[in-house]
Symmetry: D2
Subunit: 130 residues, 4 copies
């Protein structure tokens, strides 16, 4: 049976528009992927920072809302390590810590060679507590 969270994530039109797929989501963890296409590239032919950010942000949202709690993003930080090689990006979101109202995640982005290309961290505000 699908819960409300499933539809929230399924209804993310921006993620869909840019070609992000959710591979797996459970409370505190999610894995997402994106096949690199021409539309993701910037003027120097590498994946635009905003595309990497969106992939990470989507994985964070999927993990943070997997237990059915609506979560608003408060802030997010991304550090870029290297240009991705190959055609596939994956993002793994993991909860670092969570309190009653706030949750803290890190998301690691890897390229097709499993080299880490970026690290994303975010803070979420949990709107309703079960």
């Amino acid at each position: 049976m699908k819960n409300e969270n499933d539809s929230l994530i399924a209804n993310d039109r921006f993620a869909k528009y840019i070609g992000i797929e959710l591979v797996r989501a459970q409370s505190g963890y999610a894995l997402a992927r994106m096949e690199i296409k021409d539309c993701h590239l910037n003027g120097v032919n590498v994946v635009q920072g905003g595309a990497l950010f969106t992939l990470a942000d989507f994985a964070f949202a999927a993990a943070a809302t997997a237990d059915g709690v609506a979560t608003l993003s408060i802030d997010a930080h991304i550090s870029y390590f290297k240009s991705p090689q190959g055609k596939l990006l994956t993002a793994e979101a993991r909860e670092i810590a969570a309190g009653r109202k706030l949750c803290h995640y890190q998301v690691d982005i890897f390229d097709e060679n499993r080299e880490q290309v970026a690290r994303f961290t975010a803070t979420g505000y949990r709107r309703t507590v079960k």
Copy 2:
């Protein structure tokens, strides 16, 4: 006469794909805009954080490369203030400080009512120095 930077920015396919327009760019300053469409929304019908981030990142890139120096992003941080109202987002990028190798920008994102919806800050690494 167009310089190399003009084509770099014009060739940003991701920005084009999601509908971002550059209004103005000069050394240390840029203004970009995006009309909000259905494809920018997340599962709760507000503009996805990645779309806001991409708008800001594009304005930063336009400002930072306006003097013809290729600039790589090192890191970026975004804080979300409120959900945008109306149909138009604008992002203003301004240089805060710049050294020989590094430059530091802030980008303020406003909605159609001129309310600030987010603040983005980024550090760039200037690959070539004139």
Copy 3:
């Protein structure tokens, strides 16, 4: 007449221990200063990043709590621009945006020559709302 906030700020023993003085605080704005001494330096004889951060964080706390609302820090980001010259540092905190629960500040740190040495941004969680 002193309010509760005055004593909160006056009782910050860490700020006092490292020699930070509050020059002025009002709702959404504060100015703090620190005379640079040997105890603030790192192994290469420049002001330690932690000392700059603490100065900024203190100014943020003074501004954010000036209206009497207890404010917890959620996160903070600092970007370093250049090594300070001279013997005096000042930090100016300004509110960028505030909602019912969250507030967002930027703090600019200047050296004795009024050159900006760092930018600090922080998010606070307002524990009680008047």
Copy 4:
């Protein structure tokens, strides 16, 4: 035999002034500790954010310079998870990624009960490459 890095870290007067001890440092990893004293507290009697930041920043510097390469901080971000319990804080710095010029670290701060109280991330610029 001591190398240059040992003395850089040993000469960090700010870390010494606030009572931080280096437990262990090797290339890409360091462990530091700080016994919580009255001078570390803020006006509400919890460890000041600047003290946590400084502990983390010192661990980052010790790890990043352990191979003898001078490293400047470009930016740092800290997220606070909970108030520390007990009397001892430890900070573990780990390299996430490193290129020719830039290095990226995370530092986790734990209290005496081994609960994580904060996460710090930083980017360093490696001034000289061996």
